[in-house]
Amino acid sequence: MTQSVVVQVGQCGNQVGCRFWDLALREHAHINKKGLYDEALGSFFRNVDSRDCDGGASVVGGRIQHLKARAVLVDMEEGVVNEILQGPLREMFDSTQLLTDVSGSGNNWAVGHMTYGSAYREQIVDKLRKASEHCDCLQCFFLIHSLGGEDDVITSPYNSVLAMRELTEHADCVLPVENQSLVDIVNKIKRMSHDGKPGSVIKSESTVISGQGGLSGAEKPFDAMNNIVANLLLNITSSARFEGSLNMDLNEIAMNLVPFPRLHYLVPSLTPLYTLAVNVPTRRLDQMFSDAFGKDHQLIRAEPKHSLYLACALMVRGNVQVSDLRRNIERLKPSLPFVSWNQEGWKTGLCSVPPVGHSHSLLALANNTCVKPTFMELRERFTKLYRKKAHLHHYLQVEGMEQSLFSEAISSLSSLIEEYHQLDATRGRFMPDAPRLSIAV
C-alpha cells in the first residue's frame, strides 16, 4: 500500500487541512477497532514510538502509539497554524513539519511566490523530502490551498491566473472547489435539519458537513464548508486505503481522467450529503447515482450536462455491487453527452468500507468542458484589471517579478481555454468513426 503527503498552504489550506486530519482520524477510529497500526492508517499517518528519541516510526502491525500526520504545513502568517498547534490535533504535528512567517503575503501572489518562495525554497524542499523519506512507498502529494486569496480582494483575478499557470503546467490533477457551492450545500443541509417534516429527520453526525465524533469540540465558522472538502479527500483515497471488489488507486485516477496533459481539471460531486434517520429502501441507492449528476452536489458551479464529458470516474463506497453500478451507468448514460472518442468513458471503483454515518456513498469526478466558462470568466476579470494596469505596480515592485509573467500566465490560460473549446466544438456534431486499417487479403 502507498502513502500520501498532505501539503496545506495558507490560511484556507490550513483550515481545510485541519478538518481533514480530524475527520481522517474519526474514519480510521471507526474502522480500526483493534488499535493496531495497519496499512490503511499508514497511508496518512506515521506511528511513532514516543520512547524512541529519534522519533523513528514503528512498523505496520504493531499497536498504535503516537500518530503523526504525513503533512507539511506552510503559512506566511502564524495565526492559523498556531491555532492548530494549540488545539486537540497538536500532537499530530512535529515542529519539523511546519513553516511559518509572521506578516503574511498580503493577498499578493508575487510576494508569496517570489519573496517568500525564494527565501524559503530550501526549507520547503527539505521538509517535503523529510516527509517523503518517512514513507515506504510515496504515491501522491495532496496540495490544499486557495487560488485567489480572500474572495473580495480586488486583485484576486491576478492571483488566480498567475497560480493557474503553475497548476496547468505542473499539477497532475486539480480538483477545484468553489466557496459558493460549499455555502449552498451547507445551507441546504441546515434547511433539512430545521425542516422538521416527518421522514426527513437527518442523522446529524452523518452529514458531509459534520465534524461530530472527531476530536475538535465546538464547530468554528467555515468548519462546515471545510468538512465537505475534507470528505472529498477521504473519499478519493478510500479505494486505495481499504479493500473492495474493484480497487481504484490514485494513479488510476490520473491515468483514466486525463486524456491530454493540460486538461486535468476535474469537477467533483459528493453524495449523499446526509443520511435520513429512518431506514430507507435500496431505491435510495439509485437516487445516489442520480444526485451525483445533479447540480446540488457539485463542488463547483458549472453545467456539465450542457457541456461535454471527456471522462468520468465513479468511486463507490459501501455495500454496492457491480450490477448496481452497471444498472445506473446504463440509466444515466443517455442524458450525459460524452466526447465522440470516449462514448463509454467511465472509470469505476468499488470500495467495501463506507464512510462514517453512511451505508454507502459516491464520489464522481468528471473531466468536463464545463470548466471552460469558469476559466473564461476569470480571464475576463483579469483582463479588466490588466488593461488598465490596475494595482499592477504592487506586483511588479516585488523583486523577481516581471511583466512577462503576467502575459505568459494569461497566454497559458487562453490556450487552455482554446483546448477545451476545440473539444466543445465537437459536441452534438456527428463525428464519423476513423477509417480502420485495411488488411490485404
Partner: protein, 453 residues
Amino acid sequence: MSIVTVQLGQCGNQVGHALFDVLCSDAQEGQRKVFSSSSCERFFHQTAHGDLVARAVLIDMEPKAINQSISRAAKSGKWRYGETSHFSQKQGSGNNWANGYCVHGPRHRERVEELLRREVERCDRLAGLMAIMSVAGGTGSGVGTYVTECLRDVYPKSFILNHLTWPYRTGEVIVQNYNSVLTLAHLYQLSDAILVHENDTVHRICSQLLNIKQISFGDVNSVIAHQLGGILQPALTADSCGVYSRNPLGELVSCLTCHPEYKLLSVSTIPQMPSSSMAYSTFSWPSLLKHLRQMLISNTKMEEGIDWQVRPPAGAERTRTLTGPSFNTSLANLLILRGKDVYSAETGQRTDLRTPNVAFEDPALFTSWLSSEDAVNVWKTPVPFNKYEKCATLVSNSQALLRPLDNMVGKAWNMFASRAYIHQYLKFGISEEDFLDSFTSLEQVISSYNQLR
C-alpha cells in the same frame, strides 16, 4: 500431468482463487478415487501433513487482492496457497499497460521467474502453464503479457494457455480498449491458446439463468470458475486410452488451435441454474446437446434466448449468400461431457444420420477447408462435475468472439485517432509505432476470422 497457474492482477487473483475453490471441492466430492487423485495431482501439491497447496504463483503490483485470496483460501480449511508463492508491490500499475509491461515486468523478472521455477520443480511432470488475467487494467494486461513472454522464454516446449477476462463494454476502465489491444496483439505471438470470458456475457448468465438479483464480482467469478473447471478437470480423451489424459493442455491445443492465425477460444456450458433448482431438474443428453449445438450456431452463450431460426446452410453446397449474418462458423470444436450415462451421449458421428440436430460433425457448421472429422473432438467422463448430474462444456474456436473483438479494436482506434491518453503510455516507454503494430496485428486476426465463412 500438472498444470502450474499464474494469477496476475486483481482479476487474475480473484478468478484464480474461485477456480481452485471449485476444483478442490469438486475433487473431494463423493467416492471417485481415481478422478480425485488425478485432479489433485493436476492442480495441487500435497504436503507431508496432507495439506493441499495450489500449484499457483500469485502476482500483483499492489497487495490487497493477493492478501484477500490467500486469506480466503486458508479460511476454507480445504486448501491453501503456498506461503511463499506470491509476489506483490505497493504502487499498482495505474491501469497503464506500458507501466506493467515496460517497467514492472522487467524490474521484477528475476523474482517472478524464481517463484515460477520453484512451482514447476514441484511437479513430477509439467503438463503446461496457465496464466489468468484481465485485459482492461494495467497489471493483468501489461505485467501479464511480460510474464507470458518470460514463460515462453524459460519453458519453450511447454504449452501455455492464457485465460483472459474481457471487461464490460461500458467501461470499468476508460483506457481498457488500449490495454486490451496491446495485450491481445502481443499474446497472439506468445500463447498457444487464448480462452476468453466476457464480463457482459457472464453477467447475463448470473441474472437470467442463476436469477441473482444483486450481482457481485464474486458471482461473476464463480461462473467463470465453473466453466473453466469444466474444461480443466480430468477427462478421458480419444488419445488417453481409458485413463485420464495426462496431457490436457496439449490435447486442448491440438484439438482447437492448430493454426497460428486462429487462437481465440470461447466457452459455453450447459446447464447453468441456481443450486436451489438443481434437485428438481432432470437432464437428458440429447436435449443438452441439442441446445448446445444451437448455442454454437447462433452464437448465444447461454441456454436462454437462443435463436432457433438460425440454421447452417443446407446441403453440401455452401455459398456465402446462404449463410445468414448471425450464423457462427467454426474452425474447431471440443465437447467435454461429464456425468451420468455419458457414454450414451451421441454427438453426431458421421454414421448417425437419424439425429441431425445434435450433429456436431455436420460439415455445414465448419469452414470449408477442414474436414469436420478433424474439427470435432469429444472428451468424456462419467464423473459428474460441480454438483451437476450432467454437464456439457463446449470450447469453440469460431467466430463467436469476432464481434466483441472488432468492437474493442474499433473503439481503441477511434480513441487513438484523437491521440487521447497516448501521452500516458509514451511516458512509460512505448511508442505510437508500437500501437500501430498492435492494431495491424489485430486487424489481421479479425480479417482471418471473417474469412472463415
